[in-house]
Structures are given as C-alpha cells and as structure tokens.
C-alpha cells in the first residue's frame, strides 16, 4: 500500500465515523481537568487555521472569592488546578502577605519551596508520561506514572494530601515536616534522579518519540516575544526567563534554580528542557533540606488585610502564574484576579499547530502541557470541501499512531 493511499484511507475512516455519529467526549467530562476546544481548519492534511474556545470549566472562582474571607480563599484558589494546586495557593498567600506589614518566618518560606519543587517534579513527570501515551508509547506512560507516585507519597507525608495539599496558609504553612521525613525525601530524590537519567537515555533516542517530536510544534523566539508564552514553552526557544530566579519568592533567593533553556523550540527540545528541570528540582529539594533554618513555621495572620493592591506571580510547573489582589481593608477581598499559565500558552499552541498534520495534533498540544483535557474534543473543518466533523480524543490519538506507523 502506498503512502498516499493509506493517508486517504485514514481520512475516509474519520469521515465515515462522523456520518455514523460521534458521542462527544468532553469538553466537560469528570475525567478532564482543564478542557478546551480547538477548531482546526484543514487543507488536505495540513492545518491552516486554529480557533480556540475555552471556559468550559470556568467556575466563577474570582467572583466567589469576593464573598469569602481571606483565609477561606486559600483553599478555594488551590482548587483551580488539580496538578499545580499548591502553586495557586502559594501565589495567593504570598500576594496577600505582601499587603500585610510583618515578616513570614524563614522556615515557612523554605517549606514552601520544598513543596513547590516536589509539585514541579510530579507535574513534569506527569507531562512526560502523557507525551508517551499520546505518541503511542504506553509503557513509558506507565513507568513514569509509577515513579510519580513516589513524589505524591512524599507530598502526602508532608501535608496529608496528594492533590489539594492545603499546605500553605496565610502567615506560613500549616505544619512542619514530620521527624525523619527529610532523610526519606533525600533517598527518594536519589531514586528519581536515577530514573530521570534512565528516561533521558530512552526518550531522546527512542525512534517513535524522536519521529513524533523532532521538529514538531516549533516556535521561534520572535513568536514567543509576540505571544508571551510562559514557562518551558518560552524557555525552549532559548529565552531564559524564570520567575524563581528573576523575581524570587518563597526561599528562592537563598536556593535559586539553574535556569534551563533549550534552543530548537520544538517538542523534542521541550522534553530535554523538562528532563533538565527535573534533575535541577531534585538538587533544589536536597539543598532546601540542607539549608532550612530552625524556628517557627507560622505566625498569626490578621482577619482583615490592610487596604492596597498587590501584584504577584510564581513559577508554576507550566510557567508564570499571576495573581492580582485588591483589598479595601475588610475581611474579604475587593478583587482577586488569577491568570493560570495555560491561559498564556493557548495562543502560542495555535501557532505551534499551523502547518502540521492532523496526526501531529495530540503530541503538539501535549507539548504545551495543557492538562490533557484539551484534546478530547476537536472539530475539524475541511476548507476545500466546507465539511466539518468532530473527533474524540482516543480516536485522534489512534489516528496519529496509525499515520506514523504507515509512514
């Protein structure tokens, strides 16, 4: 069978499926964390235009925050994201604390950095596993998610929870780390570092992943400066911007990151970048434990916050996470604005898709690390035939795998 025949056959299969009817999976579905909807315009196999539609799980949290007390909002904002929940509560608490006229204990700041870096570790591992899944390398997905459990167990040992950790609070953190846990964390960091080295050797040479990621979803520095993506998506173009080093928060001034960059701006360079960040996070976790000062981990925080405005941001695993807090001096905020990292990366993702084929969509969109929901419902418009159909996430994944298998 020639390449041309197999492609058209695959396309015909999609069309046939469409006429039989597709049960839409998402954009709102209990298994999805951050659903988005992309409408793709195709000329043959080539994507020529992408229209995003977001807001399917917009829950009105900013409005709800105006009717809750300052402390209740810590636990509200961490529920924006199921993966980087701690970074949301961290950006909010430090943003509010910037309005209060007293110092937060140094030990609390170190403990915040500790949990933030553990969250980066589990989020980057989650991403790498998902990239394997969407590229059809499910063994990689299972290995990595098993290793990720080690980090989640540590987070549970520190805070009592795996996902919504509720660890940071206004005035510090809720509890100190239990006795003996520091040694266990050091041991686990050794294990994760070894696994990262193993994955580095595997994913950067394994043919399936190289073919699916090298040169795919490429963005240039010029596009990055124009569309202002954040985090790894920006750093993979060679621009070394990281809130942790440029505008340190928590204890990042004492234990800074070695800001990682890569040059090619494609999905393969995103893999290299995140693997390097994983190694660096392991180093930082150990350094935080070594340098952590003794002392209190919390101070009492007033119920009312002095009037004023605070602009704050942290480096979440997906990039700059921005909070704006306005207080009128009362027990509830006047306005809190949260801008998650993915919101900044959507426009860049639409650029990354242009010029690629439908088969590249799963891997390129995963490259932006959108939480996986975005891919689970995609509309496709054939520009020449003015036809439109919908593809479910699993169907699109299989289409990509089959396309590259035949190639």
């Amino acid at each position: 069978m020639s390449k041309g025949e197999s492609k058209s056959e695959a396309g015909a299969g999609l069309m046939q499926y469409s006429t039989e009817g597709v049960m839409p999976f998402g954009p709102v579905h209990p298994s999805l964390k951050e659903p988005e909807y992309f409408k793709l315009f195709l000329e043959g196999e080539k994507i020529v235009k992408v229209e995003p539609r977001i807001g399917y799980v917009h829950r009105g949290i900013e409005r709800a925050a105006q009717e809750r007390t300052w402390i209740k909002n810590v636990y509200l904002f961490e529920r924006i994201c199921g993966i980087c929940s701690f970074h949301h509560s961290l950006a909010y608490t430090e943003g509010v604390e910037a309005l209060a006229p007293f110092e937060i204990p140094k030990r609390a700041k170190y403990l915040r950095e500790l949990v933030a870096e553990l969250e980066r570790l589990h989020s980057h591992l989650l991403w790498l596993g998902l990239l394997g899944h969407w590229a059809g390398f499910d063994t990689l997905f299972m290995w990595i998610w098993k290793d990720r459990e080690h980090i989640l167990d540590l987070e549970e040992a520190i805070s009592g929870n795996r996902v919504n950790k509720s660890y940071t609070t206004l005035g510090g953190v809720r509890n100190d780390i239990p006795d003996g846990l520091a040694d266990r964390i050091r041991t686990e960091m050794g294990y994760i570092e070894k696994r990262v080295e193993y994955y580095r050797g595997l994913v950067l040479t394994e043919e399936t992943l190289v073919v699916r990621t090298k040169g795919r979803g490429r963005i240039t520095q010029e596009t990055a400066r124009k569309l202002c993506p954040v985090g790894p998506l920006l750093r993979c173009t060679g621009i070394a911007r990281d809130v942790r080093s440029e505008d340190p928060y928590a204890s990042y001034a004492d234990v800074p990151p070695q800001v990682q960059t890569s040059q090619d701006g494609d999905i393969a360079s995103l893999m290299t970048l995140r693997l390097n960040e994983l190694t660096d996070s392991c180093r930082m976790v150990r350094e935080v434990l070594d340098k952590m000062p003794a002392g209190p981990f919390k101070v009492n925080f007033p119920r009312s916050v002095p009037a004023g405005e605070s602009t704050y941001h942290v480096e979440a695993p997906r990039g700059e996470l921005f909070y704006f807090v306005k207080s009128a001096g009362g027990s509830t905020p006047e306005r809190v604005k949260a801008r998650p990292s993915t919101m900044s990366n959507i426009l860049t993702a639409t650029e990354m898709l242009k010029g690629h084929t439908l088969a590249d969509v799963p891997v390129v969109l995963t490259g932006m690390d959108p939480c996986f929901g975005c891919m689970d419902r995609i509309s496709v418009v054939d520009v020449d035939k003015s036809k439109e159909w919908t593809i479910g996430g699993e169907q699109l994944r299989q289409y990509g795998i089959d396309y590259y298998r035949r190639k």
Binding site: P52, R53, I54, G55, H58, G60, E62, R63, A98, R225, K226, L227, C228, R241, E246, D247, E309, S310, T311, H313, E320, F322, F324, K326, E334, R335, K337, R339, M343, S344, I346, L347
Partner: protein, 152 residues
C-alpha cells in the same frame, strides 16, 4: 527602567505616574491605552504582558495591563464608564493581549474595538442569559443568573 525613562514616557502619553515598591502605575486616558501598551512593550526587555485585569469600581470599570520585567511590574491603567464600556483593542500592537481582552469582555462586558473575539463568547457558556449583567459586575447576582439559565 530609570525614573527619567518613566517621566519621558509619561509626558509623551499625558499619563500620571505612581511608583510603588514593586509596581509602577501609568494612568492614561482610555483613548491612549493602545498607544501606551505599544510603547511599553517596545521598551527594551518589557515585551512580556502578564495579563489584563478588569475591576468593577461601581460607576466605572478599571482596566489594568500588567507588564513584567525582572523584579518589577509596569501597569498601564485606565478607567471606562460602566454606561459605555468601550476601549481600543491592543491586539494588533500587543498580540498577547488578544485572549486577555476577550476574558475581560466576557466577565465585565467591556468591548475592545478591533479584537478578533469582539462579540464572541470565549469564557462564558453559550447559554449565558443575554439580559443578565456580566458575572464579575457588582450588580450581577449569581443566584438570579443561575435561575435564569435553568429557565432557559
């Protein structure tokens, strides 16, 4: 950015300047917003627009454009009356603002003239009642809006 550079920029834009510990605020007239954002994003190293925030102040809506570099934020700020909330879009001068403007349009009802999402929903559900005020405005009652949506 040095205080001289800020003063020059402010005089060119007819803006008032407030320098805070972390944020420098440039308050400009609504008509000068696109020009102000273009000039700020053209300053060396100041290309990064973090987001756009809208705040309901009662009679007016404040729109804040947050630019970031190093340890500082530069905030371009303006106010539009709630009765006619219209502003020129910055989307052609600062493309990163396109989606942020669309969010403010949905949640506070501000029209950004020239934005490709003008009049299109990006954040709100398609079934959001056309008669209900935008959800982040003070007069919006979430319980009433929920009831309107249930009744269709």
């Amino acid at each position: 950015m040095s205080s001289d550079e800020i003063a020059t920029l402010a005089s060119q834009l007819g803006a008032t300047v407030v320098v805070g510990p972390k944020t420098t605020v440039l308050s400009v007239a609504p008509g000068s917003v696109a020009d102000a954002c273009k000039r700020v994003s053209g300053l060396p190293g100041w290309y990064h627009l973090s987001t756009i925030t809208g705040i309901d102040l009662g009679q007016d809506i404040a729109i804040l454009y947050h630019f970031w570099q190093g340890k500082r934020f530069l905030q371009v700020r303006t106010q539009v009356p709630k009765a006619s909330p219209r502003l020129p879009s910055i989307s052609s001068a600062v493309p990163a603002g396109t989606l942020y403007e669309a969010e403010v349009q949905d949640l506070l009802g501000v029209a950004f003239e020239g934005n490709p999402f003008l009049g299109k929903k990006v954040m709100l559900p398609d079934a959001y009642p056309p008669d209900a005020p935008p959800p982040l405005r003070k007069e919006a009652d979430p319980h009433k809006i929920k009831k309107m949506m249930e009744l269709g």
